[in-house]
Symmetry: C2
Subunit: 295 residues, 2 copies
């Protein structure tokens, strides 16, 4: 299929790569990128050129840039074009954009995208919201980007971003759960020098707590289980806060998420501890999020 | 290898099965079991008969029964026998038993065992503490019980039970993390009737939060995503409380574990909610722990 791709950051490039290997033809644009070395990807000079080439455009942008880009491209879009927002947009913004574009005969799908930068190799998990008949038109694209069986239609506009938001809310707590356990293993004075590389590897084989996050932790501990030269300052994107806000509005608590967000805030004020260093490292591992080094 | 097995509950039987398929010869005893249909397992009339047959005895008992059984068998044990405690004993009790038995020329290993009743098929995760030379003597047994690469020597007496205790502390938080996310998916008034079976399945394919616990949740939702006829009362064994106690003594907090234990307590007082029903179901799924039905 021919499609456009706006945004060639870490995630945008990973998606371009997955599309290209299945021989989709990609017209890409990113104001900060002058050169791309991925086959089947043609870099366009500007957004106007890109909209001439295709009626299907994937947006892989920071949440704060989506309205700007939509405003810039929408006057140039061909009728019945399909825009797909694959980023971490707020579901309420998504619904507004959907309605606004609908009135201009432009189709709009939301796609929650999980998998992080490692998704380039093994494929992503894609959670789709919007009109189902439009979803069906781009299925071959989704299949190329996703891990095997890793895409599905969830519901009307915003549903994809909504469940991705809650997915991230769960993720915050999972990261904290492992991190505080490893912190006790590392720093207790009963059994000193417990080997976190060995233990995280062992727990991957047959234990109840085996998971992808544990596998990433094991990869980290293989190289370094002291984490002396990084800060325990944990960043965050907006999805965790949005989930917490939603739990308040819906009066459906997510207590562990709330606690995890408090700990992240504390980590930024204090520099954190061994537990928050693990989370900073994990976020770097799966999301490419920056970590602060200590000299 | 020839060995004894005391305790034929859910976990004891699963272990007997795994040993038997690798043709270990098992002399088993359980006061509540009169018949076993597992090849290579011979049921003994009493503990004295069992101790005559072998110098290696695996104990698979509730934590409260371990001292009683050790007191009963230790006068009859052959010199240099090896006892292995595969249950969820407190690591401090384990160290006492180790020292006490050492003075009687009996070897004592502790083995944290994870994997639940599903471990019968795919093997368990075994975390060993005690003398390494004794561990090496029973390695062929461990290999049969464990999942591939699912056993390791961790450290001196108690280390196996210590890391299993912390493993369980992490597990409590992981269960709560998923449960509260699914609760918001289920009960929000934005997107009604979200399909938890579909979403949990989708998240298994390429998402950051994929895990064994998520796979079990998917199995539950395949059959029932309303959970109307069960109580949200979550039981617990002692390992979560012990971990919390240890965090206080070590002044190394595990905030999510503490929160998860509070929620379990609340669930027993109130009957809980959809989130705690999921945890009750998951515990039943992996550990065979009873769930209360509602008529």
């Amino acid at each position: 299929m021919d499609l456009g791709l706006i945004g060639l950051g870490k995630m945008g490039q990973a998606i371009a790569y997955r599309l290209s290997k299945d021989n989709h033809k990609i017209f890409a644009y990113d104001p900060n990128v002058n050169k791309v070395n991925i086959k089947n990807v043609k870099l366009e000079k500007n957004i106007v050129e890109l909209t001439k080439k295709t009626k299907i455009i994937w947006l892989m942008l920071p949440a704060s840039k989506v309205d700007l880009v939509i405003n810039n491209i929408s006057p140039h879009l061909q009728k019945d074009s399909i825009l797909i927002d694959g980023g971490n947009s707020n579901f309420q913004e998504t619904i507004k954009r959907y309605n606004n574009l609908k009135s201009k005969n432009i189709n709009y799908l939301d796609c929650g995208t999980s998998g992080g930068i490692q998704g380039e190799k093994i494929g992503f998990c894609l959670m789709l919201g919007g009109d189902k008949n439009i979803y069906l038109k781009i299925e071959s694209i989704l299949k190329s980007i996703a891990a095997p069986n890793g895409y599905a239609y969830i519901g009307p506009s915003g549903a994809g971003h909504y469940i991705k938001m809650i997915h991230n809310g769960i993720e915050y707590s999972l990261l904290q759960a492992y991190a505080e356990g490893f912190n006790l293993l590392k720093n207790n004075d009963r059994y000193k020098n417990l080997d976190l590389e060995k233990i995280s590897n062992l727990w991957m084989h047959g234990s109840i707590i085996r998971s992808w996050i544990l596998e990433l932790a094991h990869n980290i501990f293989q190289k370094d289980q002291e984490l002396l030269n990084i800060s325990g300052n944990i960043g965050e994107n907006l999805t965790g806060r949005w989930t917490l806000q939603e739990t308040k509005e819906q009066k459906i608590p997510m207590n562990l998420l709330e606690q995890s967000l408090k700990i992240r805030k504390w980590s930024r004020e204090s520099g954190g501890n061994f537990a928050t260093k693990i989370i900073a490292k994990l976020r770097n591992k799966f999301g490419g999020h920056p970590i602060k080094k200590i000299d």
